[in-house]
Subunit: 207 residues, 2 copies
């Protein structure tokens, strides 16, 4: 008997335990090719090489799959921001986080679009918020360190964190899925993110 884990990537069919993952990446691919309106559960199943009813053994509904994709992406972004090393001033770290945020959005356009989409789609966005707030926590910790080091303005933490998040998120949104998309040469967005991050970090500094 050959164990599941020893089977080749493509020859797995029954009970491979991988279909869930494959459906998620299939959905992501379709989104990147045909846009957010263009993807369907059936399409994802087809691309995963499986009947259109199969997804229902892994996801309760179309929306559930998209939610999972969104939550996973927020978590990925949070991980990435948290992994930014503590070298130099804590404010410089926040600055690097801003650039990392934008780079994440640029490198994972579909993921970022899905993340934005979930807030937009239904009125009950209850499922998304908790995961996305992990990003807030990561930023909060970084800004708090800057305050402790005396390089950020003292006082209420929340406004500083919100300004940081807003600036990163806004720039990413404008550039990846907003009016600034395809507006400038592709290589320009990241250096621009750099100077935007500088301006932000200047704004966080003491008076």
């Amino acid at each position: 008997v050959v164990s599941c884990l020893e089977m080749g990537e493509t020859e797995r069919r029954y009970h491979h335990g991988d279909l869930r993952r494959q459906l998620l990446t299939a959905a992501l691919q379709i989104v990147s090719e045909r846009g957010l309106e263009g993807w369907s559960l059936r399409g994802a199943a087809l691309r995963a090489g499986v009947s259109h009813a199969a997804p229902y053994h892994h996801f309760g509904s179309k929306a559930a799959l998209l939610d999972e994709l969104s939550n996973e992406s927020w978590a990925l972004l949070a991980e990435r921001l948290a992994a930014i090393p503590r070298s130099g001033s804590p404010l410089e770290r926040v600055q690097r986080m801003a650039v990392g945020y934008v780079r994440f959005a640029l490198e994972n356009r579909e993921r970022f679009r899905v993340m934005l989409h979930r807030g937009l789609a239904g009125t009950p966005e209850s499922a998304q918020a908790p995961t996305a707030l992990v990003v807030f926590r990561v930023l909060e910790a970084a800004v708090a360190e800057a305050q402790d080091a005396g390089v950020a303005r003292p006082g209420d933490l929340a406004p500083l964190v919100l300004t940081s998040w807003a600036t990163m998120h806004g720039f990413a949104a404008l550039v990846v899925a907003g009016p600034l998309a395809d507006q400038a040469p592709p290589g320009l967005a990241e250096p621009l993110a750099g100077v935007v991050a500088e301006t932000l970090s200047h704004g966080l500094g003491p008076t």
Copy 2:
């Protein structure tokens, strides 16, 4: 013969010249009730009290109606920002623009959602960009005035404008259609926008 203009609001049927407008507001209402996925051309026609084929005399397609709604909303926002009076320091005006931006998004949630949606939806967002960039121009002028007055950091204008736009847009997006929506008590968003705007304006200031 009774002229079109003299007819009552509801009794207009043929050639009233108003259906275009009615379809737009109907679409907006449906979006606010059922979300962006929930609206349809047929639904808008129904709500406007007209057959489902009638819209095609005013809009080439479903997407065209949505584009018009988006462009109109961007223009509305730009107008509103431009109308903010020049009292006090030019930086304070930018600050008031940030608050106005967020307030616009909060007061016109559906419009703002449509604006965000157009960037997300199709890959060819060619139609949206030009109108949306009017907002950029308005901010650009305001920040330039601050530079001229010596209250904003001298040098490249673009990074300062982009940081401003990103911060306003990001905060609005987070609060109206993002993870922060329905996260805090409704009345909290606007004062928060105030302090975020302060932090932003501090960031624009000279070193």
